[in-house]
Every structure is written in structure tokens, then in C-alpha cells.
Amino acid sequence: MIHVVTAANADAYADLMEQAYRLRHRLFVEVLGWQALARPDGREIDEFDDEHAVHLLAVQDEQLVGYSRLLPTTRPYVLSTHLPQLCEGPAPCADHIVEWSRIGVSETARTSGRRLNPVALDILTAIVEWCLPRGITHFVSEMPTSWLLRLLQLQVHAVPLGLPQVIDGEEVVAIEAGFDARSLARLQAKRGTTSTVLSDPIGQRRRLAS
């Protein structure tokens, strides 16, 4: 189940968001070694985690097992602000394009062996499910070049925005990808179900139960 947290429902998710900032720190700073994101309080939170950010939380048994973030490209975002050298031209800026930044899945949720990580698949499905009705049809993202193949295998039609660059010792590339109803259908086929991956907001559920 993927919970989508925005400014509108953030109050109901205070606890899970705290888990999210700590998960981000553990995954990106400790596991992946992206020292630039390190913070003394162990919460990975940056200047873009404001009221315009959309957080996707993968929750299993009330524990946070995966996280992702979407940012509007019509305001400053990670690529446009910190990594413009990854784009040959100006960084994209449009209402129908979001930046997908910060994708991380907790080790406790990972599956070993040859099986496709279901949490990553759920998050990608949630992004498409949430974006399409809001007129969002593209995302941009920066990633290590070694992640490209996996994105392509998920049938994401990614187009590089610039040639890969080595940043802090890692070869990174910025891509733009479009998606539509067919993309959603393909993801649902991979998940083996057409039922939604999105949950209801916690607040709404509590009201219904009382």
C-alpha cells in the first residue's frame, strides 16, 4: 500500500514522515554513501521538502518500507538547482512534468534472488496512478547510470537530458520519461493486478471507523 502525503494531509502522517526522513538518511547517506546529504540529526531533509513536495510512502504492517518524492518542476528542484550540468539545455519546467527524486526501499522489504522488488514496482505504479488524473505525464530524474537498465526493463521510456557526468565519484545521468494509460496497464500486468496501489488517507479512514 502506498500512501501519498501532501500539504493537505501532512498532519495525519507526522510519525510516518519522521520514519521517512530517517529511512532517507539510512539509505542515501549510510548505504549509498551520498555524503553530501548527511545531517547530524540523522534526518535526510532538504530545502525542497516544503509544502509543494509530494511524498510517497510504502507501508507494510504499519512500518515504512519504501519512499519516493515528487517535486513540481515549475519551482526550483534538485536537477535545476544543484545539477544543471546534467542537462544539455535548460532543465525542464512545466506543469505536466514532475521531478522524481529520492527512491529508496528498506532492506527489510527487499526480496533476494531473481525476483523483481515489489516495493519499487508499487512505488512506480503509485506515481503513474497519482499523476495521470492530475494531468502530469512526465517525470525527470537523476540516477546512477547503472540504474538505467532497470528503468528500461520496467518499460519506462527514458530519454537522457544530457551525457552522463561523474559527480562525487559516481557516474550520473538525468533522464526524462513520459507515461500514459498504457504504461499503467503494463505496470499492472507486472504486479499481477489492476486494483489500485494507493491507500486512502489515514484521516479519512479514521472518520469512517468511528
Binding site: 544539455e88 534472488g113 522488488n117 547503472s146 537498465l149 552522463p164 557516474e171 545521468v173
Partner: protein, 243 residues
């Protein structure tokens, strides 16, 4: 300069995206790659230890190397001593075979592989490691007599390699079984395994030793790309090899 390089690369990526088969992927890429001095290409996933020759061949996604090299490589099990394969498993980004920080080839076997390759025109290479969604490791090697690859070209070749690999996987998937058929004995052993029989019981039923049972089940696993008996059973059921 980088605008032109990007545009050149993007138009190749588009062509790869439209290519419906390994042949077409290679055809689309050849002119671009020849500009770097690349004459030969190999794309493959890396086999686990003990995989049979035929199963190793099966893991090759596409290739365009001298037939003599292909023959020697599989006949002599070179994949298990090839230093480039070892480097591929230890890295996540592209590397040149001439990179100074590549470990010296340890042992005669490793040196032999490189020397024989060199004799057949596979002298200078650039290899891009790959990791699939299913956590399989593999890579693409671009090889020639002498490669002209400036640092900026590494990024371009890495992009092209990823798209070639991704497209080939998709073409293979839609083409259905690239999996070689199981032999009757492999199928029989797997069918009994699917019904919960132990190795000893299967040996009794097939009148062979437990060692023989293990041999057939291992071969079946390799052909089906499975890491465990349960996975092999699931794959075989899915493909209709057993019921």
C-alpha cells in the same frame, strides 16, 4: 561539442528503441560504434558456477564476434577464467580493458584468455557492467583492435550499452522461450520434484542414482535460469514443460 555528441547518441537510442530483434539492434548500432574503432560486440548475462556449455551459450543476448572465438570460449569454459568477466562482477560502471587500475591478470589461464582473444582481433575493449531488475549480473563488451575512446565517450557508450541490453531483453521476452527444451530425463526428474518426491525417491522411480537425479535437476535449473528447485518447478509449470 557535447550537444552534437548527445544528439548523435539520442538518435541511436531512438533507433534501438524501434529495433524488434537482436539483429536489428546490432544493425542500428554498428555505424555509431565503428566510429570508436569497435568491430565486435558481446552482450550476455554471467553464469553461476557449474553451468553447462549449452546453458552458457543461452545466456548470450547478442554478439558479433569471430565464430572461432565463440567456439573456443565455450568449449574451454573461458567464462570462468576470463579476467574481464571477473572485473565486470566487481564494478558497476564501464571500464577499458587497458585501464591501469585493472588487476594484473592472475594466473596463466587468465592471460591465455586475453592473448587468444587478442590473436583473433579482440585486443582492446570497453565493457559496461549490467545489473537487471531480477538482480542478474551481466555486461556488454565493445571490442576492436584499437579503440578511440575519449573520457566523454565513456558516458555515451554506457548509455548505448544500457539501451541495447534493455531492448534485447525485451525482444527476447516477447519472442517467448529462448529457453532450450528440457531433455526427457530432465523433464521427468522435474515432474517428480514438482510432486514433492525426494532425490532418493526420484532415483528409485527413474532407476538412476541420487547423483544422477541431482545432475538432471541441476541441468534443468540452468536451462530455466532458476536458482532453486522451487523456482525451477515454477518456471517449468509456467512454460508448460511439466504439468
Amino acid at each position: 561539442m557535447s550537444r552534437k555528441s548527445l544528439d548523435l547518441t539520442l538518435s541511436l537510442l531512438k533507433a534501438i528503441d524501434r529495433a524488434g530483434s537482436a539483429e536489428k539492434i546490432l544493425d542500428a548500432s554498428r555505424p555509431y560504434l565503428q566510429g570508436f574503432g569497435i568491430d565486435h560486440i558481446i552482450a550476455s548475462t554471467i553464469p553461476a558456477p557449474g553451468v553447462s556449455r549449452s546453458a552458457q551459450r543461452n545466456l548470450v543476448l547478442f554478439e558479433s564476434v569471430p565464430p572461432d572465438w565463440k567456439k573456443i570460449y565455450f568449449a574451454r569454459g573461458y567464462v570462468y577464467v576470463d579476467p574481464i568477466v571477473r572485473e565486470t562482477l566487481n564494478r558497476s560502471t564501464g571500464f577499458r580493458w587497458s585501464d591501469p587500475d585493472l588487476g594484473r591478470y592472475d594466473g596463466e589461464a587468465s592471460a591465455q584468455v586475453m592473448n587468444q582473444a587478442s590473436d583473433l582481433g579482440l585486443r582492446d575493449g570497453f565493457t559496461v557492467p549490467m545489473t537487471t531488475l531480477e538482480q542478474e549480473r551481466g555486461g556488454i563488451s565493445f571490442v576492436g583492435e584499437r579503440l578511440e575512446i575519449a573520457p566523454v565517450h565513456r558516458g555515451m557508450l554506457t548509455l548505448v550499452a544500457s539501451y541495447m541490453f534493455g531492448q534485447a531483453l525485451m525482444a527476447q521476452g516477447s519472442a517467448g522461450a529462448r529457453v532450450r527444451a528440457l531433455t526427457p530425463r530432465e523433464r521427468e526428474a522435474l515432474q517428480w520434484a514438482a510432486e514433492g518426491k525426494t532425490d532418493w525417491e526420484i532415483g528409485e522411480l527413474m532407476t538412476i542414482s541420487e547423483h544422477g537425479v541431482d545432475y538432471h535437476l541441476r541441468a534443468a535449473r540452468a536451462k530455466l535460469g532458476a536458482v532453486s528447485r522451487a523456482q525451477a518447478v515454477a518456471e517449468a509449470l509456467r512454460r508448460g514443460f511439466i504439468v
